[in-house]
């Protein structure tokens, strides 16, 4: 009775997640791992690895197996337009017979890193509140830290579980993205650089995270707006120069850049060694980054691009490719200016936006930003529409397979049915991003108000 058991476990975890303390994390992480293993070794075929929601052309394990087979038989792994991932992934994951354990491990490490990042962020948050004299008992009494919650949300999110059990490579990609954030939040420039280089190498979109990483290393973890501290300095006349002055640490950024170039060279050398016999680096770039940017594969997924590019006329294709990709780029600068004092949150927003607009999205990407969302629990406590969003996510993630079934297997629906759920999903993601950003800004406003009113007393 495996399914019934696991459902029970799941429900129990949901129950106690909100009551457990710091020790609870270890327990629930172990249960999450066991739950994943139970699902992986479930006797019946869950067919998850062939679901379009789980595996995209970039993350599918079947394609990886095909690429590995091609490589074994002395051909270019990119021959035949099957595999579009990194050659390093092929060398690491290819020979393994129990690939699933790697993904479980990746999820576990990711959650531990998220937890550590959360700790760091919370300490920084406390410190800045203290320096603004805003810390009081009520904020201090939280039994469960936001890092724990974020890590557990990441581990127990059905999206993460499905991506892990469905053997897509997105847990590994997510791991490197989280590693980047962790390295940046703890001020470890080499680690951050390594994470960023690997994440960019694996899935290209984390490239935009370089801005939050620079800000994070330069300014330190998330804090209230800097002008708040400055006005406070002005208020306290004669207090002398305090340590609260925020300085952009160029040294660390310089370290980051050096390490980034080092790691990039290292990864490129490794790649060129690995593809040397059957191809070239140029082919690798064409088949990985080129494949991502030109949206060659139009098989349905939960994103919005496949349908559009299936419909668009061929001579407009290049134009619309530029339009769609610059969509992400357009948002980088304004968001960076507005949220520069909260680099971690900025990274979350970037990840959410790119996972919405990327060419081959899967639920694994959503799992990442939903997990990161938990990090900002204190700030986003008064977020609007949380219930609405929750219902929307649940509804869409159930409706999407049903529509797919109606279209592909029953033949009574058509592509529009499935695409409608993709659009609804995109809408919910937009609402989530907009609401979280606005409630974060509201939180800043509230802090400003409180601090000015304190000053006036």
């Amino acid at each position: 009775m495996p399914t019934a058991n696991t459902e029970e476990e799941n429900s129990k975890s949901e129950l106690q997640k909100n009551h457990g303390g710091g020790g609870g994390f270890t327990r629930w992480a172990v249960v999450a791992v066991i739950f994943r293993l139970a699902l992986i070794y479930f006797p019946g075929n869950l067919n998850l690895s062939s679901r379009p929601e789980v595996s995209t052309p970039l993350t599918s394990i079947r394609r990886l197996a095909e690429g590995y087979w091609l490589k074994q038989s002395s051909m270019s792994p990119y021959a035949g337009s099957m595999y579009h991932g990194s050659p390093l992934l092929l060398s690491v994951l290819g020979p393994l017979t129990v690939k699933s354990l790697v993904f479980v491990l990746a999820d576990l490490i990711s959650s531990i890193l998220i937890r550590a990042t959360g700790r760091k962020l919370q300490i920084a948050y406390r410190k800045s509140l203290k320096s603004l004299n805003l810390l009081n008992k009520s904020t201090d009494s939280g039994a469960l830290s936001s890092g724990d919650i974020a890590a557990l949300v990441y581990l127990w999110n059905p999206f993460t579980i499905v991506a892990c059990v469905g053997l897509s490579t997105s847990p590994v990609e997510n791991l490197f993205t989280i590693l980047t954030l962790y390295g940046a939040a703890t001020g470890l420039a080499p680690l951050a650089a390594f994470g960023w280089v690997m994440a960019t190498h694996l899935s290209l979109y984390p490239a935009i995270l370089i801005i939050p990483v620079i800000l994070l290393l330069g300014y330190g973890p998330d804090a209230p707006p800097s002008k708040l501290f400055r006005s406070k300095e002005h208020g306290k006349v004669g207090d002398g120069k305090s340590s609260q002055e925020i300085i952009f640490s160029w040294r660390r950024v310089f370290h980051l850049l050096v390490w980034t170039s080092l790691w990039s060279v290292y990864v490129l050398v490794l790649c060129s060694i690995s593809v040397k016999q059957h191809g070239s680096l140029q082919e690798m770039f064409q088949r990985t980054y080129g494949f991502i940017l030109t949206v060659e594969d139009l098989s349905p997924n939960i994103g919005v691009l496949w349908y559009f590019f299936a419909e668009v006329f061929d001579f407009f294709r290049d134009f619309f490719l530029i339009v769609f990709h610059s969509n992400i780029l357009f948002m980088i600068l304004p968001l960076a200016i507005r949220l520069k004092h909260r680099p971690c949150f900025l990274a979350f927003v970037y990840i959410a936006i790119s996972s919405m607009l990327k060419s081959y999205p899967s639920v694994g990407d959503s799992a990442l930003y939903l997990g990161l969302l938990g990090l900002f629990l204190d700030e986003l406590a008064d977020m609007q529409f949380s219930f609405f969003l929750f219902c929307g996510y649940v509804g869409v993630s159930l409706l999407s397979p049903v529509m797919h079934n109606l279209w592909i297997w029953r033949g009574t629906g058509n592509a529009n049915f499935y695409y409608a759920t993709a659009m609804a999903y995109a809408c919910f993601q937009i609402v989530l991003v907009v609401e979280s950003v606005s409630s974060m800004l509201n939180h800043d406003r509230k802090l400003t108000k409180l601090s000015t009113s304190k000053l006036q007393k």
Binding site: E14, A381, F387, C391, P401
Partner: protein, 709 residues
């Protein structure tokens, strides 16, 4: 100084409140009047359901390529007499003899090979329907295992294939006649006659663009099983040598006769599995004896698994040819008990009267419908809804739908049992001409059926309600759910004026996340629902027990599970303000999502489920509050709540419905189990709906009713 004061005032009250956007304002208005809106919407939804027979449109043939009836029939009396000779040969064989079945097959194969068509036997083991909890979202064949059953029972279908003379053989039309080779039945022989008459004609014609497959399905283990296993073997070739070897050894051991007989015919009859192209359409032909008919009638059965219907064009073609060319009376199944209900007739009269009044006001308004038409339409619609909601195919055609082939069953019943050969020949001629016409129409198709509707309800053979119309009623019925959920949510999370402490404090309250604890409860109950729906799989493995015992075990285990859950999750703290509102809000949202999902999977289930669940959820309110209130309104609500929650309990609902239809005479506890077993054996989504949406929501409604607020 004044400036500082001003600033303080500004800090205390928001300086200016931006006017919300119109759509937000509309939402706020709707939410604040949710009671009125929900009453109006629900009433409108129910009224719309009863108006459906009136809103039904006449069917029309949407695909131009079909051109039904444009060619004159080529069927001659020679074909009929040849077919009758075959039927006579088949019936004259002694049915008592052990090898009568083999002999009949041989006769049939002989006749077919004389026509010059390819003939093949298809051996199969009747596949026991199994409960696959995960079957629904996967492909039709993934859950299938080809384990070798016992060799004792197997059936043999006879398959004849006409290759289209001038086509590439990529498409095919399938004719199916179920026939029990072991038994002598005059009506089945008649259906063989009709099939053979058509087939012999088709083997000669030059206009064929698609191959014709005639499957004489061995119906000794049920008509569905034989057709389904043939289709499975047709679409999913077996590549492993071992399984075919096993099957052969099976036959060697058990039936040497057959093998010998086969080796005799090896020259003409292929031993391998014969295939033609992809199937464009399939017709299942049956002849039944029904006493007391006024004329020859043709019953059309179309419902496949999970309420899927074949393309409406197929039914249209059959209906058009049967009515306008062959003069058969076409009918679809209807609930006869509905015809006896007085209030339906009164409703019909009223609608008729309204239609007449409207017609006298403005002759353009022609929505009147005569009372008998309305009642007939309602009875047919009710049956259509019921059959689709059950999710169990109504005949062998259901097997085709699993492979996306449009198929219907045509059940022809003659007025009397013909003894006169001339009258009998005329009956065969008419039926065969009907089949010929349909085959000829389908033969004209350039693509597979796609023009007409797949989602529709029939109110008569020539009238249908399309998805665009029946969805309105459903949408109206479920529209109050999100509104009421939102309004309850807003009420429950209103900032409490009493606990508004000093404002100058960084109060991090998780008020907007208060719904999480309610969501937790709802999730727990749904997990229990999953547990309950998986239980029968294990209970049914208990040997030597009756359905009644099964249902009692099931009931007690489920209740036990619920009790354990309750004891585990029971909170000892005092119930908080807004707790039940939050719970109700989450419950309603879940019901909304569940009904929406179900309306996509199987509309009829969602419609019937909504009729029960929507009022149950909307009315649910703690009895304690109502009793405390002690007004007429609250007593009415208590009465409604108690009644609905009694009826909404699935077993009670089942027995009440059964009682209404068949009288409350003999009730057996086991019947409910048998009914549910049939649902899960056929992989009906309705079973999943009952277990994972209906039952948990019913429990949650009870929980809200008994809430100690």
């Amino acid at each position: 100084m004044a400036e500082v004061e001003k600033k303080e005032v500004a800090a205390a009250t928001p300086p200016w409140k931006p006017k919300p956007r119109p759509i937000v304002r509309l939402g706020i208005v709707l939410i604040s009047h949710s009671l009125l809106v929900s009453v109006v919407c629900c009433t409108a939804g129910v009224v719309a359901l009863f108006l459906l027979p009136m809103l039904a449109k006449n069917t029309y043939i949407s695909e131009n390529a079909l051109m039904p009836g444009s060619a004159s029939s080529m069927l001659s009396n020679d074909d009929i007499s040849e077919a009758e000779r075959l039927a006579k040969d088949l019936t004259s064989l002694n049915s008592g003899a052990a090898d009568a079945g083999i002999e009949r097959r041989r006769v049939l194969a002989k006749y077919l090979s004389d026509l010059g068509v390819e003939v093949g036997y298809h051996k199969f083991e009747p596949h026991q329907n199994q409960f696959h909890p995960l079957h629904f979202f996967s492909s039709p064949d993934s859950g299938l295992s080809r384990e070798n059953g016992s060799c004792s029972s197997y059936g043999i279908n006879v398959v004849g294939i006409i290759r289209a003379p001038q086509a590439d053989g990529k498409e095919a039309i399938v004719l199916v006649t179920p026939f029990n080779f072991r038994k002598n039945s005059s009506s089945e022989a008649l259906s063989i006659s009709i099939g053979y008459a058509v087939f012999s004609l088709l083997s000669r014609v030059t206009w064929l663009a698609k191959d014709i497959i005639w499957l004489v399905a061995d119906s000794q283990y049920g008509e569905y099983a034989s057709v389904a296993s043939w289709l499975r073997d047709y679409h999913i070739p077996v590549f492993s040598a071992s399984s075919s070897h096993n099957a052969d050894s099976c036959f060697e051991g058990n039936n040497i006769n057959l093998l010998r007989e086969e080796s005799l015919d090896r020259t003409e009859i292929s031993s391998g599995f014969r295939r033609a192209g992809t199937m464009a359409a399939a017709l299942v032909l049956k002849v039944t004896d029904v006493k007391g008919q006024l004329e020859d009638t043709l019953s059309v059965y179309a419902e496949a698994s999970n309420g899927q219907m074949p393309n409406l064009d197929l039914i249209n073609v059959v209906n058009y040819l049967a009515v306008h060319r062959q003069g058969l009376r076409v009918k679809v199944e209807k609930f006869l008990s509905v015809l006896r209900w007085e209030w339906i007739w009164v409703l019909g009269d009223t609608l008729n009267f309204i239609g007449k009044v409207a017609g006298s006001l403005n002759p353009e308004w022609k929505f009147g419908i005569s009372t008998p038409d309305y009642v007939e339409g309602t009875a047919t619609l009710a049956n259509s809804l019921y059959r689709q909601a059950l999710g169990i195919p109504t005949g062998p055609h259901g097997a085709f739908r699993d492979f996306q082939v449009d198929a219907i069953t045509l059940e022809i019943s003659p007025k009397v049992v013909y003894t006169n050969q001339g009258r009998r020949n005329e009956f065969i001629l008419r039926s065969a001409r009907l089949i010929e016409g349909v085959v000829r129409s389908v033969n004209n198709l350039l693509e597979k059926f796609h023009q007409s509707f797949f989602l529709y309800l029939l109110t008569s053979p020539a009238k249908f309600v399309s998805v665009g119309v029946y969805m309105i009623g459903f949408a109206l019925l479920v529209a109050p759910l999100p509104l009421v959920a939102a309004s309850l949510y807003v009420d429950a999370n209103k900032p409490d004026p009493s606990s508004q402490g000093p404002k100058h404090k960084l109060q991090i309250n998780f008020k907007p996340w208060k719904w999480l604890s309610a969501a937790k409860q709802v999730f727990t109950v749904h997990a229990w629902g999953v547990f309950v729906s998986l239980l029968p799989y294990f209970i049914s493995q208990i040997p030597n027990s009756t359905p009644a015992a099964h249902s009692i075990i099931w009931f007690s285990l489920s209740t036990f599970g619920l009790l354990v859950l309750y004891l585990i999750t029971k909170s000892h703290s005092k119930p908080q303000k807004g707790e039940w509102e939050n719970l109700k809000s989450v419950t309603i949202s879940v019901v909304f999502i569940g009904l929406l999902l179900m309306s996509v999977v199987n509309f009829a289930t969602a419609q019937i489920g909504a009729l029960v669940l929507v009022p149950a959820c909307l009315l649910a309110q703690p009895l304690k509050l109502d009793i405390r209130d002690a007004s007429l309104k609250s007593f009415l609500r208590i009465a409604c709540n108690v009644f609905i929650s009694f009826v909404a309990f699935p077993p009670v609902g089942f027995f009440v419905l059964k009682g209404v239809n068949e009288g409350f005479g003999d009730m057996d506890v086991g019947e409910f189990w048998t009914w549910l077993e049939s649902l899960w054996a056929w992989n009906s989504a309705t079973y999943i709906y009952i277990g994972m949406v209906h039952l948990p929501c019913w429990v949650l409604c009870l929980h809200i009713l008994l809430h100690s607020c």
